[in-house]
């Protein structure tokens, strides 16, 4: 570029910068596709899809289940979560089931409850935790009744259990005297059953490593049951009188 003379009266016009040469597109080779030039424009898009149906609106994939009372039997105890707790049954309240009658929309359960109690069951009322409470729930839009310790999910068969809450509920039933504490012979039978299960699994675990966890769990269960037995033995008083024996003839032929 020529130098500008600051003293000159007329300045020559600033010359235009030289134009860059035109980029020549690569000539396609004979019989081959044209290569993609640099700087291809890309737009950010998502494909058009139909709206997904909301899973939250679907009921759980579980069949209907009638309302029920929990009931307790003195012979049914088990180990749950390292605790010896009652294994509760359910008296299901549905017409035609276990002597329950349904007339109009009312369930007549007197005969069913009476027969259940004749068999040794103790029926646990819904408001056992206090007036206005209930341990059963009905899922809206279904005929599914569950306990308050269970949780179901839309469009799913899964049932989640609040084990800690359920164990606390069971302990409270015993503490409050709603159900009696376990008898010693029942605990001893439970110990025998648990020991047998542990023995089978422990033997298997020697050759199949995946059984080790179950063997450990059953060993813990056995300890829990034995601790409960020791506790009950400390509470059980010995018999006060000797049993009455039948008369037995002596060697001379006379009764003693």
């Amino acid at each position: 570029m020529p130098k500008l003379n600051p003293n000159a009266k007329e300045q020559p016009a600033t010359p235009e910068p030289p134009k860059p040469p035109k980029a020549k597109a690569a000539a396609p080779a004979k019989g081959k596709a044209r290569t993609v030039p640099a700087g291809l424009k890309v737009s950010q898009e998502t494909p058009l899809v139909t709206a997904k149906a909301g899973r939250e609106t679907k009921p759980p994939k579980l069949g209907a289940s009638p309302p029920f009372y929990f009931r307790f039997h003195p012979d049914r105890w088990c180990v749950l979560g390292d605790h010896v707790v009652p294994l509760l049954g359910k008296l299901k309240l549905q017409g035609g089931l276990n002597r329950v009658e349904k007339r109009n929309e009312t369930l007549h359960i007197r005969v069913a409850v009476s027969h259940s109690e004749d068999e040794g069951w103790i029926t646990i009322p819904w408001d056992v935790e206090g007036p206005g409470t209930s341990y059963i729930r009905k899922i809206d839009g279904t005929e599914l009744w569950i306990s308050r310790f269970e949780r179901v999910f839309p469009d799913s068969e899964h049932i989640a259990t609040d084990e800690a809450g359920y164990i606390a509920f069971l302990h409270k039933l015993v503490e409050d005297g709603v159900v009696p504490a376990p008898e010693l012979h029942v605990l001893e039978a439970l110990e025998g059953k648990t020991r047998q299960s542990w023995g089978e699994v422990a033997d298997r675990a020697r050759h199949v490593p995946s059984y080790a966890a179950l063997a450990e769990r059953l060993a813990r269960d056995l300890e829990v049951v034995r601790a409960e037995i020791d506790k009950r033995r400390g509470e059980t008083a010995p018999a006060a009188t000797a049993p009455e024996l039948p008369p037995i003839a002596d060697a001379a032929g006379g009764a003693s």
């Binding site: 088990c78 180990v79 294994l87 035609g96 005969v111 040794g120 084990e163 359920y166 059953l218």
Partner: protein
Amino acid sequence: MADEILYAGIANLRTAEALSTEFLFQYAAREALPQHPALIYGGDAQGRGSVTLKIPVAGLMGYDLLAATGDGSQVANSPLTDAVITVTVGRYSKSYERSDLARLQDALGVLRADMFALDAIASLATTLTSLVANVADDFTTFVGTSGADLTAAQFLSAIALLEIANVPPPYLSILHGRQVGDLRENLAAISAGALQWMDATQQQIELLGTGYRGKFGGVDLFATNHVPSANAGADRAGSMFGRGAIVWADGSVPPEGDPNQLPIGGGKLLVERDRTAKAGLTAWVSHANLGVVKALNAGGVSIITDL
């Protein structure tokens, strides 16, 4: 090029969806088990004067032993031990109501009267299965460990407990599908063929019901997902029992000569048509009267294992 005839542009000449000639049934627990000798049929309540049937239980045929009695002594009477089992039938019904518009376009024939009647028969069997499963979970004797899978040893334990209680075979076991699967897997892992599972044949399925899964340890095995839960949903409560543990009964509705009613099986299932002309609706309603009870508690064992 221009004016190509594209699929998107001929909406007036095509349909959005075409109905296939094939159709499927939704998955459901459709097992039926009414024919096993372990289940006692208490009778039909029709014309008996009550919806409650009573089955007497007598302590005879070897129940009491002879007592050693001295020469010349009078033998004391043995008390006759008796009991009674009562079963009350209740009404079970279902209704499907279709409009005339739904009926006229029915290309697959699923909205026809005969289809609804077949469905009613299948539903009756499945309902009875569900009722039996829901009374069999509460025997006072039980096997199984909460939170642990069912094992073959526990299954054999249940057999032993029934034998100890003098329950005569054959035994029937009703388990949840998960329990059957766990048992099968445990057998495959441990027995190396020493314990045999005899799978069901087609003939046995036709005779004993669609839930029949075969025989193991001499016990007939049925699977149904109607088996209820236990321990607040943590486990499933299956069962094993012999004859006397479960009693069921039904009630036939006598026919009235009504052309809109179709009694099936002598009235054990009643299918009837209810037309609401003004609304153009036709309902097909099915009714049955069923009752199931747990009878002799010592005749069964609950099997409570992980879900």
